[in-house]
Structures are given as C-alpha cells and as structure tokens.
C-alpha cells in the first residue's frame, strides 16, 4: 500500500506499524518504551506522529498503517509534544545513564530547568540488595520494558509489576520485597532492556560509583555461552581485562537478547588473575 510521510509517498505493508514503515523507508522516530522484541505498550509517547483525521497524535510504535494514511513526523505539534515528553522525564528523573534520552533532549531542545528546583522528582533510594544487579528507580522512566521482559514477552517469571499510580507509580517486586526474597531468578533480562540504567549490573555500578568508569578502555567480545546445548550468543563487555557485563544481541535468532542467570552473570570463572573486581 501507499502512505504519505511528510508529503512523500512511501510503500508500506499491511499489518506494519507506522514506525516499521518509517524505518523501512530510511526514516525514524524517537523511541523509549519500544523494543523490537517486546510487545509495544506505547506509554512513553516519544514516538508520536500526526495522522490526518485523527484528533490526538498517535503512537507510531503501535499504530498500524492504513492505505493512503497521511502522516506528519516533523510538524510543530509533533515536535512540541516530543520535546515536552523528554523535558518532563528529565525534570523528574536522573538521566545521567540514559544516553538515548540525552540525545533526544539535545535534538529537540528540551529544557527541564525551566520548571525550577522546587519541583517533585522521583525520589527513591538505590536498591543494592544482591551481588548481581542494582535498581535505581530514581532513574526509571516507567517504560514497562522490564515488566514485559520478566513476564510474558520473555522470562515468564512475573517478578515485577507497576505499583501505585500517577506520579507515585513505581516498578516494584511487590511490597518492595528484596530481590533475593522475591520471585526473581536473576536472568538479568530486565537489566538488558532497561533504557535508562535504572537497572544496572552491580559491577558496572561499582565501577561508576568508584569513579573508574572508562569507556575508552572498554571493548566487546562476542562468544557462545559454554553452559548448555542451546548455545546462546554472548557479548562480553570488558574494561581493563575484566568483564563487567554480559549481553546478547537483540537480533540474535537464538536468544532475542535474552539469557539465563548462568550466561548473564556466571562469568567469574573466566577471569584470570589480576586486579579483583571492584568491591
């Protein structure tokens, strides 16, 4: 079918979302809650576009294309809403470890400082209650990706939920149960999809907290998980010859980016002698 994007006719397929059609034609939209391997929840509203005939803006990450649809991705309305989404988020959470969001803020000219200092922010203590990953919900943008990854989109463990509501809504293990006492099986799939660093491997967190975070001394090595016959693809993230994080490519046909606790966190045996991991 044919649709029109900012005046240009482009081809799109039945069943595609607007975002997919945009990407297929070399265009894009900013996304925060969207992930290729998760069901779209369309809650962040970063990706909104204007569709002629529709009163409100529509989320391109889930809205399906229709023949002849006239879409505007760069109108004043679209730019203003996107800028406000980034600005509102940055006015309420710590974006220091959210590179995509920072990039969008610069691109759209978001200015969170104009709300002043006296505004409510998401105030949450760092939850550092196990050896594998930390939770810093003061950075959480409530994209729901971790809930989906822990639930029906990947892990089926259902250790996470959104709790409360409104500005007080939070991601929660249920009554704020410590991770070791919760349903969590430490697969780290939530950590892998988190776009803000609210969920972060403990080793990465310790490097950053100790002031020893040095991206220029980091590299990534691809390998295959040695533990079982599935053979998941792994990416070992290494700084100064120490692994601080393991991921899997989200386009891997074996894993879709998801791993189990062994592949994700069970790497200390490969570490040779040397400087011990930061405590």
């Amino acid at each position: 079918m044919e649709i029109f994007v900012d005046g240009a006719a482009i081809a799109a397929d039945e069943g595609q979302t607007i975002l997919q059609a945009l990407r297929a034609s070399g265009r894009d939209a900013p996304v925060l809650c969207y992930h290729d391997n998760l069901t779209p929840v369309s809650v962040c509203r970063a990706c909104v576009v204007e569709v002629e005939g529709s009163r409100a803006l529509v989320p391109s990450c889930s809205r399906k294309v229709a023949p002849g649809m006239k879409i505007h991705t760069d109108s004043e309305r679209v730019r203003r809403s996107r800028r406000m989404v980034f600005e509102l988020l940055a006015s309420s959470v710590d974006t220091s470890t959210a590179p995509e969001l920072q990039g969008y803020m610069a691109e759209y000219g978001a200015d969170p400082s104009r709300y002043g200092d006296a505004v409510a922010r998401v105030a949450e203590p760092l939850r550092d209650d196990n050896d594998l990953y930390v939770r810093d919900y003061g950075k959480c943008i409530l994209c729901y990706k971790c809930v989906e990854a822990c639930g029906p989109d990947a892990q089926f463990t259902f250790a996470l939920t959104a709790a409360g509501r409104g500005f007080s809504a939070r991601i929660d293990t249920g009554a704020d149960t410590a991770l070791l006492d919760s349903r969590c099986v430490f697969c780290g799939n939530c950590v892998a999809v988190c776009p803000t660093g609210a969920l972060m491997p403990s080793l990465e967190h310790r490097l950053r907290a100790a002031g020893r975070w040095a991206p220029e001394r980091q590299h990534v090595t691809g390998t295959i998980c040695p533990y079982c016959g599935v053979g998941c693809s792994l990416e070992l993230h290494v700084q100064d010859n120490r692994i601080f994080k393991v991921t899997s490519p989200s386009d891997s046909s074996v894993t879709g980016g998801h791993l189990c606790v062994k592949g994700r966190f069970g790497f200390s045996y490969v570490e040779g002698p040397g400087e011990p991991p930061p405590a």
């Binding site: 709790a163 409360g164 809504a169 009554a175 919760s182």
Partner: protein, 555 residues
C-alpha cells in the same frame, strides 16, 4: 528491605482469606483472575485491611504471582495496604465541599494533618495512621460539605457532627427524597413508569437498533457518541458479547448517576437488558463506583449483576474499566482496537453510561418522535444536570437540551445569599469555566458545554486559584501513571497552578498541549481544559493575551 516483617498473625490472615473465598463461592477451585477485585474487597472486609500476609495468601489461592496482586491492590484508593485507625474518618476536600465550607482547617487544627492517597497507599511519616483522610469528591455534592465516618455519610458536615460521629454518637440520617420538580424542569427519565421490557422483547434486535438510531440518542457519559453506532458495531460482531453499564461516576461535582441508581435502579437494570437484547449480548454488568455503597445495594436488589470499583476515577474510562473487571490495574488501553471489537475479556462490548441506559425504557415505550420532541436538533431528549456549589438549592435537575445556563441556575434558586456570580464550572473538572457573561448559553452537546453534566457555581467570594489548584491536584492524584504526558504533566501542572503568575502561562500552554495531544486517554487529554479556560478569569493572568486564546488544542 521488606517494609513489613512477616505478620505475627499469619493464622488470622489465612482465615480471613479463606472466609472471603468461601463467601464468594471459591472454597474449592482457584478463582479466575476476574475475581481479584471482588476478593480484595472481601478480604478487606474480613481483615480490616490488606496486610502483606493476606495478599500473599490470596495470590497463592488464586495461583497468581504476588507482584500482580500487589500491583492491583496498590492501584485503588479504597484498598488499604496499611492498618486503618480505630475510627475511619474521611472528609471531602474537593471543589464543591470547599465552596460550601468544608471544615478542613478546623479538622487539621484539632486532629492533625490528614493523610491522603498519593497513588500508593496512605503514607504516614511515623508509620502510624493519621486520624483522618482528605478525600476527593464523594459524589454527594448536593449535601456538601460531606464527610464519612466509618460507613456513615455525614451530610452538611460540621466539625461538631464529625466529632460526634467519631465518638459513636450520631443518630441515623434519613435518606432524603428527591424533591418535586421545579418549574422549567421536564422529568422524563427521572420518574417511575411501567416496565418496557415486554415491549423491547417483542421488538427484537433489529427494531431496537432502528429505534435508537432514529432517536439520535447520544451517550451521556461525556463524549456524546451516538449510541446507535456503538450498538450496531457490536450487534454485527460475531461470538460472545458483553453489555456494560458504566456507573463509575467519580468526577468532582457529578452526582446525577448516583441519584438515578438510588432512586430509579430499575431503569438501569431495564436499560441494560434492552441493550443486551439489541446487540445480542449474553453477559451484562453494572460497574459501580466503589464509594457508592447504597447505590450498589439498590441496583443489586433489582437482580442485575453489580461489579464494585475500588476508588479510582480512571476506571470510568471504558478500557480502564475493562481491565479493572478483568482483575488488572485500571490502566486505559491504547485505542484502536475499540471496545466494540475488543472490549472486556477481548470480546465485543457495548458500554454505556447510567443516564444513557436510563433513557431506553422511555424510548421503547414512547418511540423516537416523542423522544426527539424534547431537546435540540443535534441533542435529542432531556439531560440531567448536577448543580452544586454556591446556589440556593443544589441538586439534580432534568431539563431539555438547549435550556439556557441561566435558567438552569434559576431552577436551583440562583446564586445563594443574594451574592453575585463569579464563574460557573460547566461540564465538570474536564469542562470549562464560564464567566457571568455566558448565562445565555444554551446547554447542548453541540455547544460542547455539557461534559459530565456537572455545573458548579462560584460566587464572588470564592477563591478561584484555590479551586484551580484543587482541580489540578485531582488530575495528579487520579492519573493512572502510565503515560509520560499525564503522569508527569499533571504533577507539573499542579506545581505551576499553585504558584501561578503570568510567567508560567507559557509552560502551562506547553503542558496543556502535550497532555491534550499525546496522552493515551481522556483523563490526560482533558486535564488542562478547565484550568486553561479559567486563566482569563484570574487576576494574575488577566490581560495576558496568551491566556485567552487556548481552545483545548495545541496551537
């Protein structure tokens, strides 16, 4: 990091959950997820509150993950995740009760600061329960100010009455009857008449659909959507279908549906039955606002299936209501798909407001022409308005569409105490503020001033900034928190409105734009409308040309 250690009274908690399950008929099998909200109510009735232990036990018995149960329980203001004080005292601090002299300062002076649901239980700084709660509109605004002590509604509340009730010393209040109609009122819906069911059954689906289409009946819930369009879509859909009556009336200043439920419950039961016949739905239910206990009782007495909400304005949004019925958090869904295609339990669903359905018996009995004989060309029939605030006789008035706002106010006795009119909040907190110059405006859907049917009158002494701040807080408190524009936007809007100066108008306009344009649902999309409409009436912003050209859409 466990906030509450495992309860010492695990046995009592198990027993409470067991009793709740037994009461709802689930002693043996594990209940389906859709029983979650009814069971949470029942456990709270048995145990007094929802302790961690109760929720774990319930999750186990329902074979649900504990986080899911916690996520649902923490969503609703009526569900208590902390132990309540010995006597539960709730004082309405919403728009109408403030206007009518809610004794908030006196309560604070004598009983300390109130607790308030902040989207996650009622936090108490020292872990103890505050002596009283400030709550949003209880839907009893014709009796404002209103308080609730334990389960007793105190009308025309004073600190003396509240304290007497706290000490267990209040005579039972008699239910007030609906006053006789005043001149100008046309009571067509609000009356007891013969049953229309036999006639509806004779007519059958096709004739009922034609009748509703010919009548031009528009939904009374606020969106003014043609009832026939929804009905035909569901009637033509395959498979099992649902019809739902939306009785989650929770918008501040709105109490008309409560009156219909309490006084004319059989109208609603019949209306729902007629809708089910017309669309071919086997299943029907009425989703009643949790706080409306008396209304729920009277509806249930008609034999209709009643599902109780639990304190969440957002559940009046149709897709949030479906999620609530399914035992999920009351978060609205992205649309499309629309309810007519993918409604409750994924089935095609017709959902109509109480007042819409209450029009059906008279429509079936009298026909479309008699129905259209009242109202305007584009808004057929009569409309119930809930008039409250600074008028002599607050109450529900039924008038033909097209009635002038000034005439409606006169029916309610005009501005009280001989004072002058400052402003009218027309259509509820998602509606617009009109100045005294607007009294000639006809009330009709085409004039976009009907909204929820709430009309709140402010006399010259009212503090408009105080009322605006309360409205802003309402949206902040009731946002489901799912989408960024509304979750953060309503918080920022509240902060700005509390300090409003004309320098803030630019930011307010940006907030209004993103909330209106990019929110998922109607709550966020309308959260700025009343506030922006009031800016021209505010001293601080008066004369600022930017304040007056906002029409609810992004510029």
């Amino acid at each position: 990091m466990e906030r509450n250690p495992p309860s010492a009274s695990a046995e009592a908690e198990r027993a409470a959950v067991g009793a709740a399950l037994a009461r709802l008929g689930w002693s043996e099998a594990a209940p389906p997820r859709s029983e979650l909200l009814p069971l949470l109510h029942a456990v709270q009735e048995e145990h007094g509150w929802l302790s961690r232990g109760c929720l774990h036990e319930l999750a186990d018995r329902m074979a649900l993950p504990f986080p899911d149960v916690w996520g649902v329980a923490s969503f609703y203001a009526m569900l208590r995740l902390e132990p309540p004080p010995a006597v539960r005292v709730q004082v309405c601090d919403d728009v109408t009760c403030r206007l009518r002299g809610a004794c908030l300062d006196a309560m604070s002076a004598r009983h300390g600061a109130p607790s308030r649901f902040q989207g996650h239980a009622y936090p108490h700084e020292d872990g103890s329960a505050a002596a009283w709660e400030a709550v949003p509109c209880l839907g009893q605004c014709e009796h404002a100010p209103v308080a609730v002590v334990e389960d007793r509604v105190i009308r025309d509340a004073t600190i003396e009455k509240i304290e007497a009730a706290m000490n267990g010393r209040v005579p039972p209040e008699t239910a007030s009857a609906i006053p006789d109609p005043v001149p100008g009122e046309v009571r067509r819906v609000m009356r007891k008449g013969p049953s229309a069911l036999a006639r509806a059954e004779e007519m059958g689906s096709a004739a009922l659909l034609d009748l509703v289409e010919k009548s031009g009946l528009l939904g009374r819930g606020g969106a003014a959507f043609p009832a026939a369009v929804k009905w035909r879509a569901v009637a033509g859909a395959p498979g099992e279908k649902w019809a739902i009556c939306n009785a989650d009336e929770s918008e501040p200043g709105t109490f008309k549906d409560r009156i219909v439920m309490e006084e004319y419950p059989e109208l609603i039961a019949e209306g729902l039955r007629i809708a089910m016949l017309a669309v071919g739905a086997k299943n029907g239910l009425v989703y009643v606002r949790g706080e409306y206990e008396e209304a729920a009782r009277r509806l249930a007495a008609t034999g209709v299936r009643v599902f109780r909400g639990a304190g969440a304005y957002i559940c009046g949004e149709e897709t949030a209501l479906f999620n609530s019925v399914e035992g999920r958090r009351g978060e609205p869904r992205n649309k499309p798909p629309f309810p007519t295609e993918h409604g409750v339990f994924g089935r095609p669903t017709v959902i109509n407001n109480v007042e819409t359905l209450s029009n059906l018996p008279l429509l079936v009995l009298e026909g479309a022409d008699a129905f259209r004989a009242h109202g305007t060309e584009r808004s057929a029939g009569t409309k119930l308005f809930a008039v409250s605030g600074h008028v002599e006789r607050p109450g529900v008035y039924e008038v033909p569409f097209g009635t002038r706002l000034g005439d409606l106010l006169n029916m309610a006795g005009g501005v009280w105490q001989g004072r002058r009119l400052q402003a009218v909040l027309c259509g509820g907190v998602a509606g617009t503020f009109l100045g005294p110059g607007a009294l000639d405006t006809p009330l009709a859907f085409e004039a976009r001033n009907v909204g929820s049917g709430a009309i709140v009158v402010l006399d010259e002494t009212a503090s408009l900034p105080e009322i605006l701040a309360r409205i802003a807080r309402f949206f902040r408190d009731e946002s489901c928190g799912q989408c960024v524009p509304c979750r953060v936007g309503t918080q920022r809007q509240l902060e700005l409105v509390e300090r409003i100066g004309s320098a803030d108008v630019d930011i307010l306009r940006d907030l209004a734009a993103v909330m209106t344009d990019a929110s998922i649902c109607g709550l966020g999309q309308t959260a700025a409308v009343a506030i922006m409409s009031a800016l021209p009436l505010l001293d601080g912003a008066r004369g600022d040309p930017r304040a007056s050209d906002f029409d609810g859409r992004a510029g």
